[in-house]
């Protein structure tokens, strides 16, 4: 289905990454936003709160982040596309209900405009140190989908993509941007509505009394049950059977958790989005995501100009991790490099998948600014030896 023209600000705009996230959500048909302001994410909520009244959406500033996350789960079950945004400590506070969203298999989008941490850390400066929290921040076993935009333009596009993934796989999807991208203003081209493809939620076609909220299906994704159409059903954060009722035993736990994991893993090839450049003949491959994948370009170009066979992989999706691709490359290249604004998070996954078959390098720092070209270049020189 195509986007609704009245939700799409078609044209060229000069927008920051946060406003672009808001426009992406609106274009995707988001109709509920529950949030709590926190720097550097607040402009997303601000823009949504200005635009929603004209479009028939509901914006609520909740009392805190726990309630914000809960509100978007409720509104999603109520039948509308829902989003929240946060940063830093707010992301930590959302983690419990994020897990509830995973367990209830609830489509929604959460944008984390990453700042430096731990704790209140650097409210006004960038970081990428919430990547492992995105992966494992709520308790229990599960899989996540996380995307990382490198510009306002990509923020717009990836928020739409996140909504599509969340509806397709019936789960919360994370957009892991950062303060640099969020507060960076650039040209954003918003296409005509008919060029924006939206995936709509799959609802059961069964009659009331027959539909099950967690019915097993061949693709691992159960159709949802619409509210207000005569169905009576139960959902809970407790381990549940297909009917949605709590069943506290190992057998049900196995089925329940396996469904959460399998539905992402069995579609991983389809979900994983990598942009590769010069990888085929590469001796060294440099991997990065979000703003880091952008600021390494001058150093990579310099190295290539000097004859170093360096390839690049920009990870548009960070989770699920491109395990298969990294294993393949590890058998072919001398080294793999990961560039991220932290002291080695996604690096750990790259290193694990390299499994000792090639050298691995991290270009990392504690956040507060983006990487400088010199550090990246020096690591490339070392990695190609």
């Amino acid at each position: 289905m195509k986007a609704d023209p009245k939700n799409v600000l078609t044209g060229s705009h000069y927008l920051d990454g946060n406003y672009a996230c808001a426009e992406g959500a609106i274009a995707a048909g988001c109709k509920f936003f529950g949030g709590y302001p926190i720097t550097p994410s607040t402009e997303i909520a601000e823009r949504v709160s200005q635009r929603f009244p004209l479009l028939g959406g509901v914006f609520i500033q909740m009392e805190d982040e726990l309630a914000s996350m809960a509100s978007i789960l409720g509104s999603s079950w109520g039948g509308v596309k829902s989003m929240s945004c946060t940063s830093g400590p707010g992301f930590s506070l959302m983690m419990e209900n994020f897990g509830l969203g995973i367990m209830l298999e609830t489509p929604c989008v959460l944008v984390n405009v990453q700042r430096g941490g731990p704790s209140t850390g650097l409210p006004t400066l960038p970081g990428q140190a919430d990547m492992m929290q995105a992966r494992w921040g709520s308790h229990g076993d599960y899989e996540v989908i996380a995307l990382a935009p490198d510009s306002p333009q990509e923020s717009f596009e990836l928020v739409i993509h996140a909504f599509n993934l969340s509806e397709k796989y019936r789960m919360p999807v994370l957009v892991m941007t950062d303060e640099c991208v969020g507060h960076m203003t650039e040209k954003v081209v918003i296409p005509p509505a008919e060029e924006i493809e939206l995936l709509e939620r799959k609802y059961t076609d069964k009659k009331p009394g027959e539909a099950l909220p967690f019915e097993p299906t061949s693709d691992g994704v159960s159709p949802m049950i619409p509210i207000g159409k005569g169905h009576k059903f139960h959902i809970t954060g407790l381990t549940h059977d297909y009917r949605g009722y709590p069943v506290i035993n190992a057998e049900t736990q196995e089925k329940n958790v396996r469904r959460l994991i399998d539905k992402v893993n069995m579609h991983a090839d389809e979900i994983i989005w990598l942009e590769e450049k010069d990888v085929e003949d590469a001796e060294v491959v440099i991997m990065a995501y979000g703003i880091s994948s952008r600021v390494i370009q001058p150093a990579v170009a310099k190295a290539r100009k000097e004859g170093i066979k360096i390839g690049q992989i920009k990870m548009v999706t960070v989770w699920p991790f491109p395990e298969k691709r990294v294993r393949e490359l590890a058998g072919k290249v001398k080294s793999l490099i990961m560039v991220e604004m932290n002291y080695g998070q996604v690096f750990l996954e790259m290193d694990r998948c390299a499994a000792g078959k090639c050298r691995t390098y991290l270009v990392g720092h504690a956040g507060g600014t983006v990487h400088n070209a010199v550090d990246v270049y020096n690591t490339i020189k070392e990695a190609v030896k």
Partner: protein, 187 residues
Amino acid sequence: MAATEIRITGFGGQGVILCGYIIGKAASIYHDQHATLTQSFGPEARGSACSAQVVVSDSRVLYPYVTSPGIMLALSNDGYLTHKDTMAEDCILVYEKDLVKPEKDGPKAKAFGVPATRIAEELGRKIVLNIVMLGFFGAVTDLVPAEALRKSVETSVPAGTEELNLKAFDKGYEYGVHLKEKVELKV
């Protein structure tokens, strides 16, 4: 063309950020350049010296921050003093003549001053001093075409204030054209 870094500095309330926004929008929406705007968000930006940074380039801007500006617009002396040491060797300084006192051993390239606040006051609203600066900037530098800047002013200022702001832009531009002629005559 390599990327050109611009820093606009002044104190909170002078319209420093809007100034950066208008330059970036002019370059990337009304001209065929790429432009990335970033701004200081810390507590220092609230009330005292603040700054906006724009990187303008013919190709995609890869590194978004300004480290060594090739053009600096100084709207206040505090802002000038805070950032003067970051100016590139050949940095063009565009400054508010009555508020900023550039040091003699400042930039090796040209420095252009305009009494923007006074011109804005003559127009009846001191608040448009940033737009006077922009018109002046359009005249004394050739990075972004003045026509694109003017269009960007028109579409960026609050509705109902377009006429006043365009007048302010034109005043600044005229002042800049005359000053540049004088400077070139001297050379």
